[in-house]
């Protein structure tokens, strides 16, 4: 799969997981992501492993639940009560302990599922695509920025390696470890990382990667103008229903500003590419599909169609379920179709080991 298709997929998972609060659909999204994770290749040089992100995601889920419990919450279905001090309301309404309701836990679980889906999707993306491949398919306007990010990502593993080596050297000098020795670990590793970055920066400078000429002031101002336009547009859409047509116009104007900046930035960037990895038709279709589904989900969320949202505090009702909504959620699994077909055609992947990684 092309890097652009992977980027579109991650973007789509994020959009869906944030737009949808219906636990049934979120469950489908989560299953879809796990399915893709099982089938996705692990060939990239992603910095953080899938396993690490998966563990982090599960931990976030757990923390979300624990925080909901400790804070206590509102709701009618009280499960149990944790004794806690009464914090005066002038302290910002912070609560410690108190009644724990099924509604509160359900809300926390919904939040946790969304976070877990997004983190798992990033884990898959990291394993399947190397930062360099993403860089190659970034549009010219974002080239400089993305190069900086990529170089940073490439340096990260060597910094982790430095930390390991410094720790070993401490042991070789007879140090026992422990918190007291923390500076002796961190200081050399940070200095080592800085020196490494300076050497790389020097090597890049020597190879002609100088600062590009600055963007003309007009283009920069236009780009900056898009931000207040977006804010005005969002305000009018959500809080002034009568002004919605104006909001739409403002949003269009903001997009136009960005497009102008994009063209100016792309024209300024004179670099060429050795291998302009063309995006195959299948991947173009995939990107269009992902963008379409994301737009559909956001649209459905804004208009309230399809029952994508769910409010557990309204008496903990049974979540709505419709075929349309389920199909939108199921769309997150589309890479699995392609990967599954390819895996079937080519040599078989190792689903067993992949499954072990999914469940930390």
């Amino acid at each position: 799969m092309h890097a652009a298709a992977w980027v579109a997929w991650v973007g789509m998972v994020m959009a869906l997981a944030l737009a949808i609060t219906n636990p049934l659909y979120l469950g489908i999204i989560l299953l879809g992501v796990v399915l893709v994770a099982v089938l996705a290749p692990r060939t990239g040089t992603g910095v953080t492993s899938f396993r690490a992100l998966a563990i982090f995601g599960v931990a976030m889920f757990g923390i979300s639940m624990v925080v909901a419990t400790i804070n206590g919450n509102y709701g009618e279905h009280i499960l149990f009560t944790i004794p806690g001090p009464e914090v005066p309301s002038w302290l910002g309404g912070l609560r410690l302990g108190g009644p724990v309701s099924a509604e509160g836990l359900a809300a926390a679980a919904i939040r946790g599922m969304a976070i877990l889906s997004i983190l798992l999707a990033f884990g898959v993306f990291n394993g399947a695509v190397s930062p360099q491949r993403v860089l190659r398919s970034t549009p010219a306007a974002l080239f400089q920025a993305s190069l900086v990010v990529t170089v940073g990502l490439t340096l990260l593993p060597s910094s982790i390696e430095d930390l390991r080596r410094v720790r070993e050297m401490r042991a070789l000098r007879g140090a026992g470890g422990g918190l007291r020795d923390l500076p002796s670990l961190v200081v050399p590793a940070v200095i080592g990382g800085l020196e490494r970055s300076m050497r790389l920066a020097e090597a890049m400078e020597a190879r002609g990667y100088g600062a590009a000429p600055a963007l003309p002031a007009r283009a920069r101002l236009t780009a900056a103008a898009s931000a207040p336009l977006f804010i005005v547009s969002a305000w009018c859409w959500f809080y002034e229903p009568g002004w919605r047509p104006f909001a739409a116009v403002a949003a269009l104007a903001a997009v136009a500003c960005l497009a102008y900046w994009w063209r100016a930035a792309a024209r300024l960037h004179h670099a060429t590419r050795l291998n302009d990895e063309p995006v195959p038709a299948v991947d173009r279709a995939a990107v269009a599909f992902a963008v379409g589904v994301a737009a559909l989900a956001v649209g459905a969320r804004l208009t309230g169609l399809g029952g994508l949202t769910y409010n557990p505090f309204a008496g903990l009702p049974m979540p709505a379920f419709s075929v349309g909504g389920a199909l939108i959620a199921l769309a997150t699994a589309w890479p699995a179709v392609r990967l599954g077909l390819r895996a079937h055609a080519a040599t078989r992947a190792e689903p067993e080991t992949a499954l072990i990684e999914v469940a930390p």
């Binding site: 080596r165 026992g176 050399p188 050497r199 400078e205 100088g210 050795l274 291998n275």
Partner: protein, 524 residues
């Protein structure tokens, strides 16, 4: 030949530094010439190289006085984007100059920045790959290449911009002998091809004096251009052949072993070799040691013994298991099988206890320094070792760094920092020293000093294992040579047999006077 680059009265001081890094340097570089910059570390070689492509002062800051012209451009003012296609630079460490993931992309990176059309990029890549002998590596990932291969990729990626001047800052100091030869051979091939001028800074002159047209001695910021023969006669640290030529008063001075052989034809040289003391009790014994990292077997059934008074030079190509052997000896890595015994008893389990007896100085030991002063670094080690603080001053004196005691270890020169790091790792004076490539990138004086420390330690009843590629230095301190190859011991010979004229690594002195391995042993 015409001058491609000219410096006139160039002086430079790094921002915040007190001393001048370059002091009134005037120099001409001719089109198509091959120049070697030689001299002690921190003498100004790297700084001088960086003047030619404008990194000094454009990247490093500070003010440059004097006048510099490279191919009609002023490097101090020309944007790096333009300078890169006039003067290309290759750095010391292969790892810290790569930007992309694969060989082809790495070579293309600079060209992409210049906006060169894809067709032209392909044409240049096609021409460069065979010129540097890296044709077969085109689609490989950089991480999977050896050091010598990566340096050749770095050279190709710089040459892709078709510069007129190629600058190399100690490009072979991190490489094993095979990698060094491959890089220098590639440079020879480039020279014969056109009018590219090459400026190369290096400490190890053995392979270079016979190759270059001209030597520029750089010391204390002052540069002096001379012929290779003049350099052989005047530089402080020269290869053994030149040293021998000097002592025997040969004129002209030989630069290579072949030249020395014909100059010495008919002369009888006597050798006064000092037999090493008979080794004492066994300090380390390794039996059937096997270490595996996953699928990869790094050490295969290695057996070795080290006795009092012995210094083993541990050689072998990169990746042959030298570092792994040290890791297994100090307990940093658990062996799959085999036994390690210290002074007749099984070695303790903890790294801390093992290194109390056999202290390891890993590569780049300066990474371990973090205290505010050199004295605190040593005190820190002794505190962890539970040895009396009174040991700090004697240790400073032993390692010849008492004059640096109050300085911040990060502010001293690179050579001094190496010495401080050695002292900090070995402050508790363990019986056995394990040194992992301690002379990597070190200058002649530092190598002679370290050889002296090793002999002294062995004479006091200690022992050492030194991993190294530099067999000429090893001849000065080693009593035995052990060679690892793909994780197994290939040779384990007395130094005199290994470095002698019919051994696997004949030292330069041995090729001229069959019974000697160092110049000091040869007398008229």
């Amino acid at each position: 030949m015409t001058a491609l680059a000219r410096l006139a009265g160039v002086s430079y001081r790094y921002p915040g530094a007190e001393a001048l890094a370059l002091d009134g340097v005037s120099l001409e570089v001719a089109t198509g010439s091959y120049t070697l910059l030689a001299g002690p570390s921190a003498g100004g070689k790297s700084t001088l190289l960086r003047v030619f492509n404008g990194l000094v002062p454009q990247f490093h800051g500070g003010r440059l006085a004097g006048h510099a012209v490279v191919a009609g451009l002023d490097p101090a003012r020309t944007p790096s984007r333009r300078m890169a296609s006039v003067a290309g630079m290759v750095f010391q460490e292969p790892e810290s100059q790569a930007v992309t993931e694969t060989v082809e992309e790495e070579i293309a990176f600079g060209m992409e920045q210049q906006g060169i059309a894809a067709g032209e990029m392909r044409r240049r890549i096609e021409a460069l790959l065979p010129a540097l002998g890296i044709d077969h590596l085109r689609y490989r990932r950089l991480l999977t290449l050896s050091g010598g291969e990566r340096q050749r990729v770095a050279i190709a990626s710089v040459l892709a911009l078709e510069p007129r001047l190629l600058l190399l800052d100690e490009p072979t100091s991190q490489l094993d002998p095979a990698g060094t030869e491959a890089v220098l051979g590639a440079l020879d091939a480039l020279r014969s091809g056109g009018d590219l001028a090459i400026l190369l800074a290096e400490h190890r002159l053995e392979r270079l004096l016979g190759r270059v047209d001209r030597v520029v001695g750089v010391d204390g910021g002052v540069a002096r251009a001379m012929s290779p023969r003049e350099a052989a006669a005047t530089l402080a640290a020269v290869p053994p052949v030149c040293e021998l030529g000097r002592r025997l008063g040969l004129d002209p001075l030989p630069l290579t072993v072949d030249e020395a052989r014909s100059a010495l034809a008919g002369r009888r040289l006597t050798v006064r070799a000092t037999e090493p003391r008979a080794p004492g009790d066994e300090l380390i014994r390794v039996d059937g040691l096997t270490v595996a990292y996953g699928e990869h077997v790094a050490l295969r059934d290695v057996s070795l013994s080290l006795r009092e008074g012995e210094v083993i030079a541990l050689a072998g190509p990169n990746g042959s298991g030298k570092t792994t052997l040290f890791r297994a000896l100090t307990g940093l890595t658990r062996p799959a099988s085999g036994e390690v015994r210290f002074a007749g008893t099984p070695a303790p389990g903890a790294v801390r206890e093992r290194t109390a007896f056999a202290g390891l100085v890993p590569q780049d030991p300066a990474l371990a320094l973090y205290q505010e002063s050199v004295r605190d670094e040593l005190r820190d080690t002794l505190r962890h070792r539970g040895t009396p603080r009174a040991g700090v001053e004697p240790a400073l004196a032993r390692w010849g760094i008492d004059h640096l005691a109050g300085r911040n270890p990060r502010d001293v020169s690179v050579g001094q920092q190496q010495r401080v790091a050695l002292a900090a790792m070995l402050a508790h004076d363990p019986r056995v020293w394990l040194l992992d490539e301690p002379t990597r990138g070190a200058d002649g004086a530092a190598k002679v000093w370290l050889a002296g420390r090793l002999r002294e330690h062995a004479a006091n009843g200690g022992a050492a294992i030194v991993a190294t590629h530099d067999m000429e230095s090893a001849a000065r301190y080693a009593t035995r040579v052990v060679v690892l190859d793909r994780g197994a011991v290939r040779f384990d010979l007395p130094a005199r047999a290994a470095l002698g004229h019919d051994g696997p690594f004949p030292a330069q002195a041995a090729q001229l006077a069959p019974d000697a391995i160092t110049v000091d042993e040869v007398v008229e």
